[in-house]
Symmetry: C2
Subunit: 175 residues, 2 copies
Amino acid sequence: MPCMAHLLGVASLVLGEAGWVPCEVTEDMAVAALLHDAVEDEGGWPRLRDIEAKFGSAVAKIVEGCSDSFEEDSAKKASWEERKRAYVERLWNEPEGTLLVSAADKLYNARAILEDYRRIGPEVWKRFQRGRDEQLFYFNELIKVFRAKCPDWRIVQEFERTVRELERISSEESR
Amino acid sequence: MPCMAHLLGVASLVLGEAGWVPCEVTEDMAVAALLHDAVEDEGGWPRLRDIEAKFGSAVAKIVEGCSDSFEEDSAKKASWEERKRAYVERLWNEPEGTLLVSAADKLYNARAILEDYRRIGPEVWKRFQRGRDEQLFYFNELIKVFRAKCPDWRIVQEFERTVRELERISSEESR
């Protein structure tokens, strides 16, 4: 259920930016949003090839850009730090469609953490492989890329606003 | 596109409340979220009967509770005020599933207005049949029902927080 909520939510955010991004928001971007976790969560490269065969190379390119692991065997995944660093580095060279799906993905996640934080506080970090400081560091690295590449996008500003609020509301923790 | 973004977004919000509402979040609720505008936007009662035949009475009951008009001919719809008043009045007697889809629908709308307001300011009200004060009055009438019937729900608190922020950001207008 949380997974389905996430995929529909990211697709909704992508479609909702029509008219607010300089490029056309295409059906390929919406389909890629629905599939964006399929490669890193289960299936790796073979799954990406499936997606290319079934949905075309435009969808597959976006899904590739939004994946932080291509390992078929999830036990062989690189460390959290390595995967996130590689994701951010690659994002610098991605086109608008991938940036849009990525921003929607990260905005959904930041909002979900913020809403849960309001209810359960620091407990929320236990759901992740890393704690508050690492999560916020990762979000801020992403903000650097979005700010450099598409600073005027509404969804980028909403992502930054959400991360700032998450930093503020959890700031007692870092003292 | 905005319509599809809305329907996926409401379904996502409904699924995302699993574990945060006292009832089970069912597939019927998610399907009803995807269909919640079908009756009031196009089709009226005959469309509701279609939905009942295809998706069952549980889905149809929720869609009915989330509709503010059942006129087949949209030229014959009652006034905005009458439709909204009837919707709010009926909501007092609706069960949890309908309250959840309704809260998700209204939260999506309030967030969309707030985000657009941040970009284009008071221009945003021109998209609707009524202006700032009427829209905020309607949201506040809904908040009264949600507060009385399900005050502890996370989505209800997020809806109220969003409406308060929309009131604050647009407060200059009412002077």
